[in-house]
């Protein structure tokens, strides 16, 4: 198996390997629990390694195209037809960027789960669904086909909903899962309806081919509204956020970290639809302002709702909403400016900031949720008023929490600072008020995490909890994310040049996206 072969087939393999493993898991689970854990870990590590290899190649400038079932992976248009009719996977800079996030967080969540769900029943199904979530995320990121996007969206939603309800013996878990499922089905139906509108007009499902003939008629506008509403709802932007705190809070912590990424995959789909599918045909000023206002609302309302929370995971969920606002703001400013002369100066910086923030958020919010899970594992409660002095026994968790809290508040030298600075300085050129709100939100975030740190980790030790740190596998899961946070914080320049810039470029350059699939 040589390197070239692996590179050529990696887009399909990255989706197919976890899918195969997902259905092998329940069979192997019957034979041996240990073999099942080993299989899941091997698959997660393989996906991570192949993803890094593929991403490295994509970031150096090669967009990967994979046509399912064709006589040659790059033969997107069959000889007898004039349009792409097969399922095409298109991995450009942004897809590879998102794929890296999904693979990394899934690996951390998988390792963390080994100890975290050890005492629960139905672990075979847990790992099956965890792998299916990974499949859904990678599929949504890689696909170049609208209907395929819908299929993977459904896979992701159903797997997530089942995992949120994993601790079904607690009533609130079922409620959170039900809410998530209703929202997901509604969103998926809206997406399907929008795809139908486009398919009815153009007889095309391939995104690149559709982008080439897009006319922005009335029906296209309706489809755009449906897409934006559905994906903004799925990524938890205010005012469609009501499911986020309920379902993030009740899911097992490892799954919450994955759900954060799942929400960002919806964000990716939103950006992909706006930039690559509609591109310059749409009214960028209006749509840009809509996305910016969604971002501002999410940022501000999210963080103010987080302040009074007493449940540690609920508080973090509101912060997740608030951080999503930064990404919407950054990329929204990019959309607002695209096609204008200012785009090449600060528009592209805003987009880089927004996109960089996606990775940073996945790392530090994932880490924070994992530490919250570790606290829950030890003291069996999420209520901040019932815990204190945990730093005495859980030293490592306390350090990880501090790193995560500093990163989310945007304090140097952690990664949150790098992306937030890019956003502050670029959106300032559009309107200073945007920057001021963004900074204010950052300060409130810090205040809120100081409160959490104080009430959970400081003070005299609790009397009736067991001594000692959480099991090793949970610590390793947290270490993976911590290393990412520190590396990204120490070398932001390198990361922006080599990883974030290709991703932002891929999103902004619609012509290259079209050309990669249908040429010319």
């Amino acid at each position: 198996m040589n390197m070239n072969w692996l590179l050529t087939h990696s887009p399909a393999l990255l989706i197919a390997i976890p899918l195969l493993a997902a259905f092998l898991t329940p069979l192997i689970d019957r034979l041996s629990k240990r073999a099942r854990n080993v299989l899941v870990l091997i698959v997660l590590i393989t996906v991570e390694v192949v993803m890094i290899v593929l991403a490295w190649d994509v970031f150096t400038g090669n967009t990967h195209i994979y046509t399912m079932g064709a006589s040659n992976p790059t033969a997107t248009i069959p000889v007898q037809a004039a349009i792409p009719i097969r399922i095409v996977l298109e991995v450009d800079g942004l897809s590879a960027f998102m794929g890296l996030i999904s693979a990394t967080v899934s690996l951390a969540a998988g390792l963390y789960s080994l100890a975290f769900v050890r005492r629960e029943t139905g672990q075979g199904r847990y790992y099956t669904l965890l792998l299916l979530m990974l499949v859904g995320m990678l599929g949504m990121e890689f696909t170049g086909d609208l209907f395929n996007l819908f299929v993977f969206l459904e896979i992701l939603s159903i797997a997530s909903a089942a995992l949120i309800a994993y601790r079904f013996y607690r009533g609130d878990a079922v409620e959170g899962a039900f809410k998530y499922f209703v929202i997901s089905s509604l969103g998926a139906l809206m997406v399907l309806f929008a795809i139908g509108l486009l398919y009815g007009q153009y007889d095309l499902l391939n995104m690149a081919a559709l982008a080439k003939v897009m006319k922005y008629t009335m029906l296209d506008k309706i489809a755009l509204v449906l897409f934006i509403a559905a994906f903004a709802m799925k990524c938890g932007a205010i005012p469609m956020h009501m499911w986020v705190p309920d379902s993030y809070t009740v899911a097992p912590a490892s799954i919450t970290a994955m759900l954060v990424v799942a929400s960002q995959v919806s964000l990716y789909a939103l950006f992909r639809i706006c930039f690559s599918l509609y591109g310059l045909t749409l009214d960028v000023t209006t749509v840009g302002i809509i996305i910016i206002s969604l971002g501002l609302l999410s940022m501000f309302v999210g963080v103010t709702m987080a302040l009074p929370q007493k449940d540690i995971k609920r508080l973090m969920s509101y912060h997740a909403i608030s951080q999503t606002g930064y990404m919407l703001l950054g990329v929204g400013v990019g959309l607002y400016l695209i096609g204008k002369p200012e785009f090449s100066t600060y528009g592209v910086v805003a987009m880089e900031g927004g996109i960089f923030h996606i990775f940073n958020h996945a790392l530090y919010k994932g880490l924070l949720f994992l530490t919250a899970g570790a606290i829950f594992y030890k003291v069996k409660t999420r209520n901040l008023n019932e815990m204190r002095g945990l730093a005495h026994s859980m030293k490592f968790t306390a350090i990880f929490f501090m790193i995560g809290a500093f990163a989310i508040a945007g304090i140097p030298p952690f990664n949150g600072f790098a992306s937030k600075l890019l956003i502050y300085e670029s959106v300032y050129c559009v309107s200073p008020i945007l920057s001021i709100i963004a900074m204010l939100v950052s300060i409130i975030t810090l205040a809120s995490f100081v409160k959490v740190f104080h009430s959970a980790f400081m003070g005299p030790p609790m009397r009736n909890t067991k001594e000692g740190e959480v099991p090793k596998s949970m610590l390793i899961g947290m270490v993976i994310l911590t290393v990412g946070i520190i590396l990204f914080g120490l070398f932001p320049g390198w990361v922006v040049d080599h990883i974030v810039h290709p991703a932002a470029q891929a999103l902004a350059d619609q012509a290259a996206y079209i050309q990669a699939v249908i040429g010319g």
Partner: protein, 156 residues
């Protein structure tokens, strides 16, 4: 749910084979006529649900175990993905059987014809594995729901 009356059970007995044959036909002819693995599997599973309603879930669970159904379901899914993997020498999902003269490997006649079952390569095999997955999956869902509902009714 308790067992239903003798009349219902007799009618179900005589209907059951027809539903089965129709469902299996839809699966097997998936590459020639409308339908396919999912649709045919749903028809077969609804036939099984008929037996479930007529004979009570307790009776059904004496005959089949839920865990065996989920094994069948996994095998169906694994079969589908493995078939897709077999073509990876060219591309994932590559239909290497079509036109090769093996089973399902004949080249279909051009123009209006009555439909040759022995064509389409991987598609009928994939339809069969999807069919297996859907039969096992849907039946397991219906059976478990009926079982839980009947237990709850007994408690009341």
């Amino acid at each position: 749910m308790s067992e239903m009356s003798k009349i219902v059970r007799t009618i179900s007995n005589s209907l059951f084979p027809f539903i089965m044959i129709y469902g299996l036909y839809v699966i097997m002819h998936g590459h020639l006529t409308p339908g396919g693995g999912f649709q045919g599997g749903a028809v077969v599973a609804s036939g099984c649900a008929l037996i479930l309603v007529a004979y009570s879930s307790g009776w059904v669970f004496k005959k089949v175990k839920e865990s065996n159904l989920s094994i069948l379901e996994s095998i169906g899914a694994i079969g589908f993905i493995s078939l897709a993997f077999l073509g990876i020498g060219v591309t994932f999902f590559y239909n290497f059987i079509a036109g090769s003269g093996l089973l399902f490997g004949e080249i279909p006649p051009v123009g209006p014809n009555s439909g040759n079952l022995n064509t389409a390569g991987l598609l009928p095999l994939m339809n069969l594995s999807v069919g297996l997955k859907v039969i096992a999956g849907l039946f397991a869902i219906v059976a478990v729901m009926a079982f839980v509902a009947s237990r709850r009714m007994r408690k009341k």
